[in-house]
Symmetry: C2
Subunit: 327 residues, 2 copies
């Protein structure tokens, strides 16, 4: 009798623990944002419901900077780029007369933000050129192992948002393929995407330039060039999605006006049910507050204004997220 009671008690405890363990999105407060994500996933995975979406069509796209990790005080790749320009400066005397590079080295990004960030992408592409893709990978790896975020005092790869990590895992557990579609460099992001986010290299889309194949004595290489720069931001996002994936996503996650077209492409006139979500940076204490603030990365004005009519979920970081970073 006692043995039976103990077994029953054990069963109840175990069930409670198991239920707790599989509770999705546990770093989210139980508000409208969390509920909208869960309701969407339940709807498209319910084979008996009228909104079922076959697994092959469950494509979810995520912006990176500002959506999966911070983009302040500057996007992490800009910190990397400035550090790389400094490191390689002795070998490049011609950079002394390059006004964009000089502005970056002086820490003055303002002129680089003109004309749709033209100067910014220029220095990103310059810092990643004149080498093979393998050499670039090593530079990125070395930087992530040593560089420290000025405010959070950690290596940059330890600053992924815990609530968004949970969204990535939750979607994959429900048969979604999770893609990153970001203004960040394609080759830059692929170095850490699998380790940090569980997103495999072939599911990463980003800004890019041509590479050139060469068969050398010690094997084939791909040389990075500055030819044909493609900026994977704004309309570039649905354009890249078409070229790389060839299907319309059914879920899109962003945080800035640069994600507006990707959100539109995902949610307007989609034959399948869809979800659009914007991470709104509202937490000065634990992270940052910005949207319309001039000259900040991640300007969010037009996409935020469109959100109500489009039915996009707007996440209030301060109130929706129980914790910000994984610990």
């Amino acid at each position: 009798m006692i043995r039976h009671a103990l077994l029953t008690l054990g069963w109840i405890l175990w069930s409670a623990l198991a239920a707790h363990a599989v509770e999705p999105l546990s770093s989210w407060n139980d508000g409208a944002s969390r509920r909208a994500i869960i309701a969407f996933v339940k709807k498209v995975t319910d084979e008996k419901g009228g909104s079922f979406v076959p697994p092959s069509e469950r494509i979810a796209v995520f912006d990176n900077d500002g959506t999966l990790w911070p983009e302040n005080p500057v996007p992490f790749q800009i910190s990397f780029t400035i550090d790389e320009l400094k490191r390689r400066l002795p070998d490049h005397p011609e950079w002394k007369s390059d006004k964009d590079i000089q502005a970056a080295l002086a820490g003055d990004l303002t002129p680089l933000l003109l004309e749709h960030y033209k100067g910014l992408f220029y220095i990103i592409f310059v810092a990643g050129t004149g080498m093979t893709s393998g050499e670039f990978d090593q530079n990125v790896r070395r930087w992530f192992a040593t560089a420290i975020h000025p405010r959070f005092k950690k290596t940059y790869d330890r600053l992924a948002y815990q609530p968004m990590q949970e969204v990535l895992s939750y979607l994959r557990a429900n048969g979604f393929k999770t893609y990153i579609v970001s203004g960040g460099g394609l080759d830059f992001m692929r170095v850490f995407s699998e380790r940090v986010y569980g997103v495999v290299p072939e599911h990463v889309l980003g800004s890019r330039t041509d590479v050139v194949y060469e068969l050398r004595e010690d094997g084939p290489v791909l040389l990075k060039t500055t030819n044909h720069p493609f900026v994977d931001d704004g309309p570039g996002k649905p354009e890249s999605i078409h070229q790389f994936i060839g299907r319309r996503p059914i879920a899109a996650f962003g945080n800035s006006d640069g994600d507006k077209e990707m959100l539109e492409y995902t949610t307007i006139g989609n034959p399948f049910p869809s979800l659009g979500l914007i991470v709104h940076h509202t937490d000065a204490e634990r992270e940052y507050v910005y949207d319309a603030k001039p000259r900040s990365s991640g300007k969010l004005v037009t996409a935020l204004a469109d959100a109500p009519q489009r039915g996009w979920v707007v996440v209030d970081m301060r109130n929706d997220w129980r914790s910000i970073f994984s610990e």
Copy 2:
């Protein structure tokens, strides 16, 4: 006793049938080519062996024209392109003074093959521009439903090589991701790749031009342009693989000199075991014979010469393939 004997007999029969059913590559004669493919797959999937490759790294790339289906008398997309140019000619009086288009309409492809097929890709891109990606899809679908191959008297989508279909399935059953990496148009191939080969759209790489995003009254569209043509052939293949997949394949299947760089990139200095394979067209009776023949699609000279030193398997279609097409 009799019942037991019958059951035993049934079991033996069932086992024999089951074993037969899972026998891979059944349209291949049991020669060196078939054995090389099976030995490679067994080696990289044997967790206890020293050559095990984790599933995430099992990327296999396939050329399409001449490797997965015929490319004679001309690549199928050329037949489509000429039919499309004819169909749309009344709306494009400016084509009357375009010498490449006129040559194509007259059935004279010779001038289009100069300068690395420059004219050929030009007419392909022209026939696919000035419309949305959705409209182009419909044109391709309609063509496949009606156009008939001049020699085999079937719709083109019924001409996949049965032995290669078996290779695709066999690799996928062993945890490989199968990609098409072809000179054919990206948008063209994605219309049929899943239905014909079981290759999902996001695993198709091909020749392409820029698309332009536009939000219209009835929803978002992608307009096809002729800007930035990228020819996914020769060195373009490893370049595309780097941009789209971001990993080196461990198996590559081709049939012409345009696949040489993809075969090199897959097999030279790869940290994992690798397989390179060339389909050699040697069967005039059931298909075609060509390699060094001038002006044929699918010239195979330098890649064939390199095969022995590179260890690439050369498939002799006439002797290695029991059947050519699926029935």
